[in-house]
Subunit: 131 residues, 3 copies
Amino acid sequence: MYSFDLDTYGKCAMVNITKQVREAVQKSGVAEGSVIVCCPHTTAGITINENSDPDVVTDVLDGLEQIVPKLPYRHDEGNSDAHIKCSLVGISVVLPVEDGEPVLGRWQGIYFCEFDGPRNRRFTVAVNGVR
Amino acid sequence: MYSFDLDTYGKCAMVNITKQVREAVQKSGVAEGSVIVCCPHTTAGITINENSDPDVVTDVLDGLEQIVPKLPYRHDEGNSDAHIKCSLVGISVVLPVEDGEPVLGRWQGIYFCEFDGPRNRRFTVAVNGVR
Amino acid sequence: MYSFDLDTYGKCAMVNITKQVREAVQKSGVAEGSVIVCCPHTTAGITINENSDPDVVTDVLDGLEQIVPKLPYRHDEGNSDAHIKCSLVGISVVLPVEDGEPVLGRWQGIYFCEFDGPRNRRFTVAVNGVR
């Protein structure tokens, strides 16, 4: 299992972590199997979306911001919107590993999603399978 | 594979099942690998969110209730809102297993999400890996 | 790993791919383990929902359409709504495999979700475990 630290740069952000995931899969030596990318937080998430036009992740963050309603939430830390986004997006993704690489489409990138930053955060890459 | 029954206590509810998941992982004897927690329903889900302040899950449920629109749905059982929440939240989570324990952050709990209760429900924990 | 092509029939659609997933699991020879169903796209997804009344998937698609706001998005391909749905629903599902079959509830079907069609699309089924 490999752990990575990152610093997020705003209240909400999507940070491309595809490179770190690829490197962890290669380092593991697993040729065929699966890779789990997950985060240990409850106001962040992991998702896969377009890796090309940076406007896409801005639009995804703007969309999520509008989707989550502004309610008089009970949780006194004032970040219930981030907890809701966490359960909408999810804290992990799982991909097959083939020929020692995570199976990703040409336009897919793996993103760490910050919903309550900026903060120092962490994510984990676990690779299982046969060498 | 381990199966668990539970009775949900309202139309919508989030029941902390972290203890059952931990016990299943320990019982499996798997030291390194992965654990899938899933439910066999289409109006429920599995998610990970904060395990500390119970207001968080109330806020998540309230947020989801507002997010799903009140439309003249076609499905004649009248629970299309619950089916939509099911696809938003997802029916499973996957976590790494390390040193015989599911890899969870300090504030993370695993929740069974009821969206069309109260009902008798079921969830499954499957552990794969090496002993 | 098994790959499948499909042609989607509208802007938005949910195509039941349970049969293909079952066949891939059987073909793999894996008796106990896990199956990942994923797509290599960023304007589509994979979800599990009711396999019986076809009105359910229509309602899920209608609900998602209302959930995603109509904003002046930046991405110039005009399909940011589909990218947002992609991150809400997710591009993969993972299920346990037991006795050579994916573990599904009686009413659960696995769906390829098209959010920006009609198009020729692809999905992948990867099965890991012991024979």
